[in-house]
């Protein structure tokens, strides 16, 4: 079942008078429940592509749909609602709110949505337990290791029950062992809950765990864009 579809997507950046063609005509479809890695060297357009899929950026041209809705037709508020409802984010630098505990960080997307405190707490505790952080619920991010912070970020991305989780280089700041555990955790959640995961990486050692690999170079998909 189709989750996202991109047709001839282009994205240009303007640096003064210079135009940088970050994406040069992307055709991409992703189904529900997939576990997809986007691989490519630095500057190949991985982050730009993930920003577009995550509806936090707009393409210069082309058509892009998430759950059948064309993103460019949505207002900023509607796109924001869509992100809260359907998309979870895992960032390279974890991006946890430093003044909130692990539990409060995970509760945040639900509270933004307007969920009651008790319901948000219940779901967040369950997600933290799922990522193995039951003993760290009251810890602030600065009191946790990189791996633990990234697991909090995964719990936060999943707490709303999104149909799509986007992870931009989620293991870039982690050592190899922790990286494999994080990818393994994401893989387990994908298999168990059928949540679609799309993550970018330039670490080839992690690619043996993915079901589908999209290779990106110079803003173009070399292979893996359209599922046969």
């Amino acid at each position: 079942m189709l989750l996202t579809e991109m047709i001839d997507i282009k994205k240009d950046y303007f640096l003064g008078e210079t135009v940088v063609h970050a994406l040069r005509g992307i055709d991409l479809t992703i189904d529900k429940g997939e576990f997809v890695a986007i691989w490519g060297p630095s500057g190949s357009g991985k982050t730009t592509l993930l920003n577009l899929i995550g509806a936090i950026d707009q393409p210069t041209s082309g058509q892009f749909y998430i759950e059948g809705q064309e993103i460019k037709r949505l207002s900023d508020n509607k796109r924001t609602e869509l992100r809260n409802r359907s998309i979870g984010f895992i960032f390279q630098g974890f991006n946890l709110i430093p003044v909130l505990s692990a539990l409060e960080n995970v509760m945040l997307p639900l509270e933004i949505r307007g969920a009651s405190f008790s319901k948000a707490r219940e779901k967040a505790l369950w997600r933290l337990d799922e990522v193995g952080l039951s003993d760290f619920v009251s810890h602030r991010p600065d009191k946790m290791s990189g791996g633990q912070q990234q697991r909090v970020a995964i719990a936060r991305a999943l707490v709303t029950g999104p149909s799509l989780v986007i992870a931009d280089e989620p293991t870039a700041n982690l050592d190899t062992g922790t990286s494999k555990k994080i990818i393994g955790l994401m893989r387990n959640l994908n298999e168990k809950e059928k949540t679609t995961f799309i993550f970018s990486t330039h670490d080839q050692r992690l690619l043996d765990q993915v079901k589908r690999l999209i290779r990106l170079e110079d803003g173009k998909i070399l292979d893996g864009g359209i599922r046969k």
Binding site: N51, N95, V99, E104
Partner: protein, 412 residues
């Protein structure tokens, strides 16, 4: 909402030094404005009492229409006859807020001790009514001697400096001279029944208080130029004036009614000056608070750009980001004003213990420096500064909210 308040509070605590400086600016500003407000509140209260009780203006003064404009040129025509003021008193005293309505007359002339003479201005009053008007104020500026009495129509009270110039004291005798309303010269003996301090250098060398019948006798008339009305509360002054104007008009009495603050030039001038100083201090505090909050929130937005990007990615709308920072600004205002209240009460306590005094310009004796605690004014100032902090935070908050999410996430 609790979540956002929690985040705002924790961020304030996280940046302790910067928050402390901002809170200190708000607290000092609040305390400065509130203490000065407390001081002028006490001063206004004192001046009001001084005008109503001390100067004997009462709350309202009723004149025959035209007296204020043409009374000096043709006093006889614009004074109330005995029959008129008796009717007026009956009508005015029907009002439940009126404690007293009493006729008075202003006179002027020369006062002599037999060797030297000087000019005087005197107020002709009914002694028992004057006591009612003075009330507790009488103990604030006590009269040396027996004071005015209905039983001694020639016994007068004389202001301190005037008594000193003429070498008169309680129990000594003198003569007053004036022109009657018909233009004849008239002179009457006086006995100094009391010496008093008017509280002002400008009037202490020329004022006297005399019984009404004495003043009428000196002017050879049975009339009075005004009716002074004392109310049960000064805040009812305007309401009762309007009510009386209607009532007197219906009764066919053409009168003008002035309030105590319209007649007390000293009160109006001092109030005008203090109001201007208050506005000046208030504007300075306002600028300090706005600049402190804008600076603090501007820094916060800059430092937390990535956090803003994350919140936006997680689904917080632009409005939500604005609210988050606005709450932080309001929290700074709230905490700052709470510290301000503590500072204000501490200064108030110190002033109460030390009891400093000073001599204001034009006043003859030292007066205590008193600062009132005015909870209502403090609350209004508190709400105002909190709203001001909130509004000051909105500018950087809107900037934060409008940031491009991708750029915000990439901010280092």
């Amino acid at each position: 909402m609790i979540k956002w308040i929690k985040i705002a509070l924790r961020n304030i605590l996280k940046n302790r030094r910067r928050s402390f400086v901002t809170l200190l600016a708000i607290a000092m500003g609040f305390a400065a404005v509130s203490i000065f407000r407390g001081y002028i509140h006490n001063t206004y209260e004192g001046l009001r009492q001084s005008a109503i009780r001390g100067e004997g203006l009462g709350h309202l003064t009723i004149y025959k229409e035209g007296w204020l404009e043409k009374g000096k040129a043709d006093p006889d025509r614009y004074m109330f006859s005995q029959k008129e003021f008796q009717r007026l008193i009956d009508l005015v005293e029907e009002n439940e807020d009126v404690i007293l309505a009493t006729p008075q007359i202003n006179i002027s002339g020369l006062v002599s001790n037999g060797r030297t003479s000087t000019i005087f201005l005197a107020n002709g009053v009914i002694p028992r009514d004057e006591k009612t008007i003075k009330g507790a104020w009488a103990s604030f500026r006590p009269v040396k001697g027996d004071g005015l009495s209905d039983k001694k129509p020639y016994g007068v009270e004389i202001a301190e400096d005037l008594a000193s110039h003429l070498d008169l004291g309680p129990g000594s005798y003198g003569v007053v001279m004036a022109t009657t309303l018909d233009g004849q010269m008239n002179a009457l003996d006086i006995e100094v029944a009391g010496v008093y301090d008017t509280g002002s250098d400008a009037t202490n060398d020329k004022y006297m208080r005399v019984p009404l019948v004495f003043a009428q006798s000196l002017y050879d008339t049975e009339k009075a130029d005004r009716l002074v009305v004392l109310l049960n509360h000064w805040e009812k002054t305007e309401t009762v004036r309007n009510r009386l104007l209607g009532k007197l008009s219906v009764a066919g009495l053409r009168c003008e009614i002035k309030t105590w603050n319209e007649l007390s030039l000293f009160y109006s001038k001092v109030k005008g000056m203090f109001d201007m100083i208050f506005l000046f201090i208030f504007v300075i505090v306002l600028i300090i608070v706005v600049m402190s909050v804008v600076n603090t929130m501007g820094m916060a937005v800059l430092e937390r750009t990535r956090e803003i990007g994350t919140l936006r990615a997680l689904g917080l709308k632009q409005r939500g980001v604005s609210i988050l920072f606005a709450i932080e600004g309001a929290m700074l205002g709230l905490l700052g004003t709470i510290f301000g209240v503590i500072l204000n009460v501490a200064v108030w306590g110190v002033i109460r213990i030390v009891e400093p005094t000073y001599i204001p310009p034009g006043v003859s004796t030292p007066v205590p420096l008193i600062v009132n605690l005015v909870p209502q004014a403090m609350l209004i100032l508190m709400v105002f500064l909190i709203l001001l902090s909130l509004i000051a935070a909105i500018l950087p908050a809107r900037r934060a909210a409008r940031q491009n999410v991708v750029h915000a996430l990439g901010h280092v």
